[in-house]
Symmetry: C2
Subunit: 163 residues, 2 copies
DNA sequence: GAGCTACTTGCGATTAATTCGCAAGCATAC
DNA sequence: GTATGCTTGCGAATTAATCGCAAGTAGCTC
C-alpha cells in the first residue's frame, strides 16, 4: 500500500498515532520537495500537516485557517504559493468546483467530481466512470484527460426529483 | 473599381444581410424574454446581436466591447445581468474554461470542451463523446450531466508530443 | 397618448479569489 | 560559518463578478 494513502486512512481514534504516521508521509513529501530544489520550511510542513489531517476538499482559505491554529503569522499568499508548488510536484490536486474558490486535496485520494448546478451538492466518483471518455478523447483528439482537475456539472438526483 | 472599396462594400452588404437574418432569431428570443416577464431593451438587443454575430466563445468583457461599438454607455454590470438572464432562459450557455473568465455562446451551438492545462488550447468536441459518461452517471448516481457547462482538462496532443 | 408599474439600467462601491513585487529571513550546500 | 538563493510576510494590485440605489423606460391599461 502506498505510504501517503496509508497515513491518512487511520481514523482519529488515536491522534498521536495518526500524527506520527502522517509525519512520515510528510517527510517523504518534503524529501521530494528538496530533490526538486525546494526547502523544508515550517510553513510548508504545517500546510502538509493540514492537507494530510483530513481528506475533505478544502479551499486555500480553509487550509490557511488550519495552519493559523499553530502559526498565526503564515500569510495567505504563502499558502497559495505552496499549494501551487505542491500541485506542480503532483502531491496534491486542485479542483474548481462550480463558482466558489478552488479546492485542494491529496493526489493519493484522487477521484472525479459531479457537482449539481442547482444545489451545489458534490458527489465523489471513481476514475473508472471516465474510462470511455478518456479512451475516445485519446484516440480521436490525442488529448490526455486528467479527470481530477475539473468538475462535471449537471443536476443531482434530488434536484431532478423535485422538478 | 478600387479593390479595397469593393471589399468593404461586400463586407457591408453581407453585414446587412446577416443582420437581417439574425434579427428574426433575436426577435424570437426577445419574445421569449417578454413571455417571462422581461422587457425588450436596446441593451438586451445589442447583446443578443453580439451573441448571434459570431459563434465563438466570448467573455462578458469581450461582449461588452462589441456592444460598446454601438452603445458606449452600456455598463458591464448590465452585460452580466443580461447574460445571467439569458442563461436562465436557456438561450445561451456559460462555460468556465480553465482559469480565465467565464465564456458565453448560443445554446444552439452547444458542444463540449477539452482544454489543455499546459497551453490553454481549447478543442470543441461533439456531445457524443460524453455518451458513456452521461449513461453511467445517470444509472449509477442518478446524476444528469450537462456537458456544455464545464471544460474537460488534460493535455493536448501538441504538449504531449513536446514532453 | 397619458399614466402607472415594475423591470432595467448606469454607476460606483464592494466582494471574492488570487497574484505580484520586494525587502528581509532562513534552509542548505560547501 | 558563510554564501546562495529559495521562501516568507506584507500590502498593494489584479481579475471577475456582484450589489445597492436612484433614475430611466418598456409595455400594459384606459
Amino acid at each position: 500500500m502506498h505510504l501517503l494513502y496509508a497515513a491518512s486512512v487511520a481514523d482519529e481514534a488515536s491522534d498521536v498515532a495518526t500524527e506520527r504516521a502522517n509525519r512520515e508521509a510528510i517527510d517523504e513529501v518534503l524529501a521530494l520537495v528538496r530533490r526538486n530544489g525546494g526547502r523544508a520550511t515550517p510553513a510548508r510542513r504545517l500546510l502538509l500537516n493540514a492537507l494530510f489531517g483530513n481528506r475533505e476538499h478544502r479551499s486555500a482559505e480553509e487550509l490557511a485557517a488550519e495552519v493559523h491554529d499553530r502559526a498565526p503569522d503564515v500569510h495567505l499568499s504563502t499558502i497559495y504559493r505552496n499549494l501551487e508548488e505542491l500541485e506542480r510536484l503532483g502531491v496534491i490536486d486542485s479542483t474548481r468546483l462550480g463558482s466558489g474558490p478552488a479546492t485542494y486535496h491529496l493526489a493519493s485520494a484522487a477521484h472525479g467530481h459531479l457537482v449539481c448546478e442547482q444545489c451545489a451538492a458534490m458527489i465523489e466518483v471513481p476514475d473508472e466512470i471516465f474510462t470511455d471518455l478518456v479512451r475516445v478523447a485519446g484516440t480521436e483528439y490525442g488529448f490526455a484527460i486528467n479527470p481530477h482537475r475539473f468538475a462535471v456539472t449537471g443536476r443531482c438526483a434530488d434536484c431532478r426529483a423535485k422538478a
